[in-house]
């Protein structure tokens, strides 16, 4: 979350800068208009994506029960049989173990490549494992 806060500030700064220049190039800087809003949306989304894990897995799903009572009746006789999109989607979706996240990272960016650099033996090692520091200690 720390980086997103930074992003927020950055977005704010950008917006202020953008409004200064907007006098000269009106329209061209449209994309900057809702930068702050976009940034805060991303921030909130990130917050919601990481709730208490235990609650997420084992918690009671109350939204499902709420949806059941809302079945519309026509003239008190007929029940509208409309497939509830979200419910049927989950219960009758394909049974597959593959993990398809909503969005993938952009691996063409240098920063993204940077973010996993230490997962490899070629990356930076922890101090107690690092060959250079271990050698130094031996001397």
């Amino acid at each position: 979350p720390k980086t997103t806060e930074k992003d927020l500030k950055k977005a704010k700064a950008l917006e202020i800068k953008g409004s200064d220049q907007a006098y000269e190039t009106d329209g061209a800087l449209r994309w900057k208009d809702d930068l702050q809003q976009k940034a805060s949306e991303v921030f909130l989304k990130h917050q919601q994506a990481a709730p208490n894990l235990r609650k997420h897995v084992y918690g009671t799903v109350s939204s499902q029960g709420a949806g059941q009572g809302e079945e519309a009746e026509l003239g008190g006789l007929f029940r509208v049989s409309r497939p509830e999109k979200s419910k049927t989607n989950l219960a009758d979706a394909a049974d597959c173990s593959r993990f398809h996240p909503d969005s993938l990272h952009n691996w063409d960016l240098e920063e993204m490549l940077h973010s996993i650099a230490d997962c490899f033996v070629t990356g930076k090692w922890e101090e107690w494992q690092d060959a250079a520091t271990l050698l130094k200690q031996d001397e």
């Binding site: 897995v57 009758d92 597959c96 996240p101 990356g123």
Partner: protein, 372 residues
């Protein structure tokens, strides 16, 4: 908890329900299977999976209603032995193997299964992927030895199939609890680029483009090319790539991509397939953990069935399939995991948030295993 045992709705998570039912001995009733669909009821591949379970067990009772929307399953005893099964080509053999991998160690006699059907398709984990990732995971829990083998005899791409796979697995009385908390660093990347009924040059083009992406990280990369011909190449053309990153501690993170089945979906250039697959591998490394996203459920199941001791496994973000699996484990075995989120440290460049899963095993023991 009526006389029907556990009750569920819908066709999703079909395999985990039946597998957990078989292991726990609890009966299960699944209703409302595609009941709102234009074509309601069980599909052929699900029926094929049930028949496979019936083959490896004895005394299994299965009742399906006329429309196929309600299934009652009363598990029998796991028997094992040598079996042969024609896996319905709507799903690849990986779909069936994932179920067998969960059950194989608890048979009465060691399982030797010959499975025929589709070896690679874009939906399910392929046989090659399970071979490189699931088998090492089994070894972590003490299921190893000469008898553990998975072999692609004939490759068969979707939709035609015509492939053949041999899977054999030794049996164990109990599973060993594990402490897989430190993944270690990735020391090498291996892969298989396969092609059947297309130019053998396809595989080489895949290899080159995949290398161009991952070469920035590590020099130790070797991607085998596997071009099967004639009777061993199945009925449909296609190509694909499986990549696996191995850490110093012997853990595997994997990714794969397969060309769309002939006549379905857009065609993809082998160069794009190679690049995209390499990026999927980077995504998987970013998720990280000691077990990759495909095998999360398998690891969690073996932790649950372990001896009555603490097991810990570090995982990447839990996939929706895994989250549901955890709920099912609670239903069938009354085990709840402790989950600790491990956000990445400020100056660490090791990808995203990880989750440390902890549980005490139920002390499952394979009573039908013959002692010599």
């Amino acid at each position: 908890m009526t006389s029907h045992g556990l009750e569920y709705e819908g066709c999703n998570f079909f395999r985990q329900r039946l597998v957990l039912s078989t292991l726990s001995g609890k009966r299960v009733r699944i209703k409302g299977i595609r009941s709102r669909d234009d074509n309601p009821g069980l599909r052929d591949f699900e029926a094929s999976f049930i028949r496979l379970l019936d083959k490896v067990t004895n005394g299994t009772k299965i009742e399906i209603n006329q429309t196929g929307t309600v299934l009652f399953y009363q598990p029998g005893l796991l028997l094992g032995g040598t079996i042969e099964h024609d896996c319905n080509p709507q799903r690849s053999i990986g779909y069936y193997l994932e179920g067998l991998l969960m059950l194989a160690a608890f048979m009465k006699t060691p399982l030797k299964a010959t499975l025929k059907g589709v070896t690679n398709d874009p939906t399910d984990p392929s046989v090659d992927l399970l071979k490189t990732t699931a088998l090492p995971l089994l070894k972590q829990f003490g299921i190893d030895g000469d008898g553990l083998e998975m072999k692609v005899v004939k490759r068969g791409m979707a939709p035609g199939g015509g492939g053949e796979v041999i899977f054999s697995c030794p049996i164990r009385r109990t599973l060993r609890p594990v402490q897989l908390t430190e993944p270690g660093k990735i020391k090498r990347i291996r892969g298989i680029a396969y092609s059947v009924r297309v130019s053998p040059q396809m595989a080489n083009r895949i290899v080159d483009s995949a290398r161009s992406v991952i070469n920035k990280f590590i020099p130790d990369i070797y991607i085998y090319t596997d071009h099967l011909k004639g009777a061993n190449s199945g009925k449909s053309p296609g190509f694909g790539l499986v990549l696996a990153a191995e850490t110093q501690k012997g853990f595997f993170l994997s990714a794969e991509l397969s060309s769309a089945p002939q006549g379905q979906g857009p065609t993809i250039l082998p160069e794009d397939l190679g690049k995209n697959c390499a990026k999927l591998l980077l995504e998987e490394i970013h998720r990280g953990g000691c077990v990759d996203s495909t095998n999360q459920s398998l690891a969690l199941l073996f932790m649950t069935l372990g001896q009555q001791d603490v097991s810990k496994v570090l995982l990447g973000p839990l996939s929706p399939h895994t989250v549901e699996f955890l709920r099912h484990i609670r239903d069938f075995f009354q085990i709840m995991f402790k989950m600790e989120a491990k956000p990445p440290l400020e100056d660490e460049r090791k990808g995203g948030e990880k989750v440390l899963m902890t549980c005490v095993g139920v002390g499952f023991s394979n009573i039908s295993k013959v002692t010599k």
